[in-house]
């Protein structure tokens, strides 16, 4: 139980750290820490496979791309620029929605068995984890994923696909300039002539 509270506080603190930093790289480091704590959280719940996958996928693949982009754009040093403030208009409805959502979450947490009762859910990693047919083992996880929960699993994959397409559609809003072959030849000739002229001068 103490472990739960320590981890919980760390988790929330690191999440706040992520969104409160002005430097993107600090946010990334905060997020990395957040994922690590989350993985430990899963471990305390015997969800060993989930913990490892959490690190492999989110830290190993997703977050590293953030670092990559930050490093490439070299925007890591400069703080986020302040955009136009759209808060005043949306302040009241946004606040309301956030409050209701938070209230629901708190209600849910309080109702959940996690806090109220069973110690079993928050026990530390017992020796039996290594054995098969234990809750959270890789084999059981895989079996559940591909039999009982096959439909949600495939649905998630589909939703992710939709998200990818959505991103492409949003980001690629303006069609890039792709000249036709004839137009390209004209451009090339013009450029060459311009170069030649430059050479004469």
């Amino acid at each position: 139980m103490t472990l739960f509270w320590i981890l919980g506080v760390l988790l929330v603190a690191s999440a706040v750290f992520v969104i409160s930093q002005r430097k993107p790289v600090y946010s990334v480091v905060g997020l990395l820490f957040h994922f690590a704590v989350l993985a430990v959280f899963f471990l305390t719940l015997n969800a060993e496979f989930l913990a490892v996958i959490q690190i492999v996928i989110y830290s190993g693949a997703t977050l590293i791309l953030f670092v990559f982009v930050i490093a490439l754009l070299s925007s890591g040093v400069a703080p986020f620029s302040v955009g136009p403030n759209r808060m005043p208009k949306a302040a009241i409805p946004a606040g309301l929605i956030a409050f209701v959502a938070l209230a629901l979450v708190v209600y849910g947490i309080l109702r959940a068995p996690l806090v109220n009762a069973p110690r079993a859910a928050t026990t530390s990693i017992p020796g039996a984890v290594g054995a098969p047919n234990v809750f959270g083992s890789v084999a059981d996880f895989g079996k559940a994923l591909f039999t009982t929960h096959l439909l949600p699993f495939e649905m998630t994959a589909f939703i992710l696909m939709v998200a990818v397409i959505g991103v492409v559609a949003l980001a690629g809003e303006t069609t890039p300039f792709v000249p036709s072959l004839r137009r390209a030849r004209i451009i090339e000739r013009e450029m060459r002539e311009a170069l030649l002229r430059g050479g004469e001068e």
């Binding site: 430097k23 790289v25 600090y26 990334v28 480091v29 990395l32 690590a36 993985a39 060993e48 496979f49 490892v52 996958i53 690190i55 492999v56 830290s59 190993g60 693949a61 590293i64 791309l65 670092v67 990559f68 930050i70 490093a71 490439l72 070299s74 890591g76 040093v77 984890v129 290594g130 054995a131 098969p132 234990v134 083992s137 890789v138 084999a139």
Partner: protein, 325 residues
């Protein structure tokens, strides 16, 4: 009191791994020297055996500089990320047959091999954040390369390992070794082993895949600006990672502590150490032989050769196992 036992085991293991690192470094310099017709370090102690100690003292007393353009916090954090993720893997590597009561590893994790992959994934941050935080152009290039290279080769590496997992039917490292009592997986999974070996060299940033450091063009890459003990930490992490991939190769493909030809009179741990030594020798041998890859060829090789071959190997293994079982 089990946590005390784990603590003692961890301390012992840390000592063993650091000593092994020190002598792996000497071993590398010796072997490289011999392969280049030199005697290698031989001045400190008999046959240069005290060289690691001399190096450590030198490293400790060097000035620890932080460039003025660096981001101080992340600059100081990066070597620790590298080191911790490098050492973490040893928590679950089983050195010998786990007997009831005493176990040769600190933790027997069910998702063993995945745990190692997770730590490797975190290890990338040490390199990429360290390069970025140095605030200078060569380290930045090195870190961008590191990120791209590690993501690319991690895919092929995982694919090549999944073949072994399918054959063994478990992700626990001890379980995988048990499954190899009859035949080492290097024989049925020869392609998988070849791909694992190549990608492991790339993952540990060693020659011929050491584009991250590339002395010739990037002046030591991501750790150009590091000096003294902070550089030492990166250095340790690199060698410890090499040890880790050697251990994993031994566990997954060369039967771990299983004795070949039924020579069980030699204890399992000796076999394990011999096999790991063999792999370390191979890495040094490669470094002494191969010239560095060109960057675009490295990427093309990873995505266009290793990944498709690894995927095909995986599919073939799955089909064979499905038909047989």
């Amino acid at each position: 009191m089990s946590w005390l036992l784990v603590l003692i085991k961890s301390a012992l293991l840390l000592f063993v791994v650091i000593t092994t690192f020190a002598y792996a470094m000497l071993f590398e310099r010796k072997i490289m020297g011999w392969m280049q017709l030199r005697p290698g370090p031989n001045r400190v102690g008999p046959w240069g055996l005290l060289q690691p100690a001399a190096d450590a003292v030198k490293m400790l007393f060097k000035e620890d500089l932080t460039p003025s353009t660096a981001d101080p916090l992340i600059y100081k954090l990066a070597p620790f990320i590298s080191l911790v993720s490098a050492f973490g893997a040893y928590a679950i590597i089983p050195w010998s047959e786990p007997r009831p009561g005493d176990i040769w590893s600190i933790g027997n994790v069910n998702a063993g091999i995945l745990f190692i992959f997770a730590l490797t994934a975190i290890g990338v941050y040490g390199v990429s954040l360290g390069g970025w935080a140095s605030g200078s152009k060569y380290p930045l290039l090195g870190s961008v390369r590191a990120t791209a290279q590690m993501i690319s080769y991690e895919l092929a590496m995982t694919m090549s390992v999944i073949g072994v997992l399918i054959v063994a039917g478990t992700t626990s490292l001890a379980g995988i070794v048990h499954a190899q009592q009859r035949i080492w997986f290097v024989i049925p999974q020869l392609i998988g082993f070849a791909i694992y070996f190549v990608t492991a060299v790339a993952e540990t940033n060693r020659a011929p895949f050491d584009l991250v450091e590339a002395d010739a063009e990037l002046v030591a890459g991501f750790h150009t600006e590091y000096s003294g003990l902070r550089f030492g930490l990166f250095f340790i992490a690199e060698y410890v990672n090499m040890l880790t991939v050697s251990c994993v190769a031994t566990l997954l493909f060369f039967g771990g502590w299983n004795a070949p030809f039924g020579w069980t009179f030699i204890p399992g741990i000796v076999w394990f150490i011999l096999k790991v030594l063999f792999f370390i020798f191979c890495y040094i041998w490669l470094r002494a032989t191969m010239p560095r890859f060109r960057y675009d060829r490295l990427m093309a090789f990873g995505w266009k050769v290793l990944l498709p071959v690894a995927t095909l190997n995986l599919i073939a293994t799955a089909v064979v196992v499905a038909v047989k079982g």
